[in-house]
Symmetry: C2
DNA sequence: AGGTCTTAGCGTAAATATTACGCACTAATG
DNA sequence: CATTAGTGCGTAATATTTACGCTAAGACCT
């Protein structure tokens, strides 16, 4: 089956034409987290020329949902091989969102926003939410449409129930943190400070620098490299790498912070 | 909209006729946990005369998914007002289950079990999994079809991917235990021993009797009743009740065991 | 060259939480 | 009246978490 790269479709059609081959009334929506400059960010796509939304797409009938999620991400952003985690499934009624008149006009093509029928056709009724953890640097979306890495507090009013989805994704991420490969949010080589900031940002708390250092070292999955990060103020920090075999082992026990 | 109590339909039709009013290709499936005689049990329903499955049903288009889950439980078992928690959504491809020839014949009405088309029509493609925690004693299913409370290790080979669903529901339950109203699994009045056994069963570990007692008392949400459980061997244990206001507060902090 | 900031690593004390278990007393059964 | 289990207290041993002092080194700035 030929599968078109949807980024070359008009953005409005990005959800895909409901066809014989896709599951009707269901979409997969992805909250993609990246970490950069001590900030947790989410990837937003332009849905039409004005409104923003999360990457979303349909599921082919013979496809695993998880495969659909990773395909959708690839088709809409060009990004592949990312860590994906299902976190919640959203229903129709949660989606009775109060669009502004402008948004409604653009979405519903001048039909009244009370036109529930139109909404049902143009939005999927059930959305399966996945979040992705990606290395911000590795991820260079190749998009026809425009995109934006947006810090969580600055996220604008999105289409559909995507604001709620991001909030819930973050809650799920915090809960899962103990058992999840959070390292996916970091580049292959990173400093301890960067990792600490990552945990502090996600968990919204601080750690003592020395205790954090000790704790991480005790897990024994970090490899200290001879190289250093250059160009920083003051002393250059060492770079570290993850020994993924040991990392997986530590995750099975659950890493605690 | 009139909604028929599905237990008076033929069991095969229990999923509901796909109609204008329900979401196509999606079902809600419920793993109902009950606790009795120191065993965690799951409610199974007869799907046809021979095969077992979990309660499942469709979602109406204007309905919240959570409402659909609780309606489905009520329609298939007569049970209402239970604690429900969404835990995972399952896709089509996970459902390529190896039915026995007999099961396939019954399910597919003598069509070949390779007849994927038939399968797609008769099974929902996407299933949203909920688990329910109910007081075993309070729950008296009013069913035309037959049912069974089954201990987890003794669960037979179920239809669809319902065996996998139960396994995942249990994993989710264990994870959620710290923040969830586990008290829903107990009758309004219970002994400390019963509560301890409940936690031991779910978490698959043991607790020291005295430490468990101390810990529970420190949370301050148990009310000791003057009554005792009669008819037991040896000393009769006191009955306890939950002060639900304080209980909710304790849950927000997270109860640890 | 010296000042200042930061990394890197060591150690340790204090506070909390967990676990194991002793003991006294009560109450129901045989 | 011996046995068994519930109830409730205390306490000691361990483990984990948190706070923080100290040394040394390295890179930038003036």
């Amino acid at each position: 089956m030929k599968r078109q790269i949807l980024s070359f479709l008009k953005p409005e059609e990005r959800l895909g034409t409901p066809s014989e081959n896709t599951i009707k009334d269901v979409s997969v929506d992805c909250v993609m987290f990246g970490f950069h400059a001590d900030e947790l960010k989410v990837l937003l796509l332009k849905w039409n020329n004005i409104d923003w939304s999360l990457p979303r797409g349909r599921i082919y009938k013979e496809e695993l949902i998880a495969d659909a999620a990773s395909r959708v991400l690839k088709e809409t952003t060009g990004i592949h091989d990312v860590f994906l985690q299902q976190f919640h499934t959203f229903g129709a009624a949660q989606r009775h969102k109060n669009y502004t008149d402008d948004q409604a006009a653009r979405l519903f093509d001048n039909k009244s926003k009370e036109s529930r029928e139109y909404e049902l056709v143009h939005e999927s009724i059930v959305s399966i939410g996945y979040y992705a953890l990606v290395d911000f640097e590795k991820v260079v979306p190749n998009l026809a449409a425009s995109y934006q890495w947006c810090e969580i507090p600055a996220i604008p009013d999105l289409l559909f129930d995507h604001n709620d989805m991001i909030e819930l994704a973050l809650v799920a991420l915090r809960k899962d943190l103990r058992y999840l490969p959070i390292a996916n949010l970091l580049p292959p080589k990173f400093t301890l400070r960067e990792m600490q900031k990552l945990y502090e940002t996600i968990l919204n708390r601080t750690f003592d620098r020395r205790n954090f250092h000790k704790l991480l070292m005790s897990y024994d999955f970090l490899i200290k490299l001879p190289e250093k990060r250059v160009g920083t103020a003051n002393k250059s920090p060492h770079l570290y790498q993850i020994d993924f075999e040991k990392y997986e082992l530590a995750l099975q026990d659950g890493i605690s912070y």
